[in-house]
Symmetry: C2
DNA sequence: CCTTACATATAGGATTCTTATATATGCAAC
DNA sequence: GTTGCATATATAAGAATCCTATATGTAAGG
């Protein structure tokens, strides 16, 4: 059975997936998600930051303060080993949800 | 852009899709959803009833009391014309969300 | 100096789903 | 005959997730 958290957890999958490509800070993360989905998926920064804290508490990502070339301080997040391990079952759960919903709409159509 | 309600709205899509096949009461609705998804998607009745009220308030479904052959009273819900009209854009929104998440995970993998 | 882009943060609220609980009927088994 | 199970609806209390609005501050460009 699909876990109860999954249905609202689009953001979680999106963040972990993008971080798989390499460490990023919050502001850039939001832009990548929007770009890579052609604007279909978008998270406001106010929604993103609390989520990053949550993911960090769960040890799936780890944040570190860094100072960029232009002297701006920002918090750079990277996937932890636990986060990497979390990713594939999460993707499988999503795939299962998609199949389930497709079955529902198709059966209804028949 | 994908609407903000969609991400939590799996239940909404599931209920409307199943009702497309014909009127049903709540208890049977829950069973159909579970059966047709091979147990992957499941809603407890306590979650289902408040949702049915909400869908009824929005005029997408309409409930009517009936008495079955065995003398048990139950509330039978059917799709309204507005509900039918709602269904296809909702399915399109979901398809768009799926594509967006697939793009994210694939780009991250590349 | 004023605006825009960058960057993080918190408060307050809305929505949705869960667990737990309550009620009541019909039917079969013992 | 009463115990237990499947049927059937309902509400309350709470957790989780996301949104809007707001605040703060730096850097670059006009």
């Amino acid at each position: 059975m699909i876990g109860s958290g999954i249905k609202r957890g689009t953001a979680e999958l999106a963040v972990l997936s993008v971080l798989q490509d390499g460490p990023l800070h919050g502001y850039e993360l939001a832009r990548r998600i929007e770009q890579q989905t052609n604007g279909a998926l978008r998270f406001t920064l106010a929604a993103l930051y609390p989520m990053l804290y949550r993911l960090e508490q769960q040890r799936w990502i780890r944040g570190a303060w860094e100072t960029s070339a232009n002297g701006r301080r920002r918090r750079c997040y990277r996937l932890t080993p636990a986060g990497k391990k979390k990713l594939s079952p999460l993707q499988r759960e999503w795939a299962e949800l998609f199949r389930a919903l497709q079955r529902l709409t198709k059966v209804a159509h028949a």
